[in-house]
Symmetry: C2
Subunit: 174 residues, 2 copies
């Protein structure tokens, strides 16, 4: 069971399922559920589905961690585009560094860039600044939510339609 | 330049930077910017940073696509946890299928699961249902935004502090 979205999870998922989904872990997580709603009878109860296997974290924290790497990637692209017109030399230096270093881990990339040379350090600081500004100001969070909901609905419909078409085709042949 | 967050981007980034960041692409993207704000002088202008290289899509669409795969991954974990207590046989079947098939591409995984056997088809439909409900109801979007902003700020501070500590240590030695 692997998912490239969250590389560190691969290690966690190597544990046996019996451990990952033990009833004690289930109860523990249920106990830490923070969203409570009033039922029709007035009793409060948690309506969230139990998501096991995230340890001390949460799905939201794991997603935020991956988004952070994505924002570093976006910041590098923004800075490259900005440099291209007014500082071709710095653009070439950053391009060359990007070709040599993976952006899978954004922090690791910035850490290496800062230590490459004083000029690269300036570029790294610019990338940190841009990813912070992009996260806070430019990234359209509402749009992300809307698009994700729409994509999931469309994918569900498409997958079921494909399956029905495929099986009805087989039925016709029989 | 690679980023595991968005696997399809690897192909796109293989093109030369001169093409990816050409001024015509720049102007094209600027023209499609949808967020306009009134300036102090009353003139409207786009204050968003230009993000090149996403073609017809947007960073939000790419992030939503990756989140969709993540939600499939979460849905599989939820269904496994639900099955464990009341249907150990189905739990074992799904576990075995998950071990054999990657969850990197959520739709591909569900497509294969639907075609494995009639029993697996039932499991696949359950996973589709759960990922839709999770996306709409359980996933805390506000929390995601808050955590991502906080993580970026904390990472920026940590990276700069590390660098300063490291270089001040070198200065002391000199």
């Amino acid at each position: 069971m692997e998912c490239y979205f969250l590389a560190p999870l691969r290690v966690k998922l190597a544990q046996p399922f019996s451990t990952a989904y033990s009833s004690s872990a289930y109860l523990q997580r249920r106990g830490s559920c923070v969203r409570w709603r009033s039922g029709s009878g007035g009793a409060a109860h948690c309506q969230k589905m139990f998501v096991p296997g995230f340890g001390e974290g949460s799905p939201e924290a794991k997603a935020a961690r991956s988004l952070q790497d994505f924002f570093t990637f976006v910041a590098v692209k923004i800075v490259l585009a900005q440099l291209e017109s007014y500082n071709p030399e710095a653009h070439a230096e950053l391009t060359e560094f990007v070709d040599r270093n993976s952006l899978n881990d954004g922090d690791k990339f910035c850490r290496a860039l800062m230590r490459e040379s004083p000029r690269h350090k300036g570029l790294a600081l610019r990338i940190l600044e841009v990813r912070s500004a992009y996260t806070k100001r430019d990234f359209e969070w509402d749009n992300l939510e809307k698009l994700a909901r729409k994509m999931v609905d469309e994918s569900n419909t498409r997958l079921m339609r494909e399956y029905v078409l495929e099986t009805s085709h087989l039925d016709n042949e029989d």
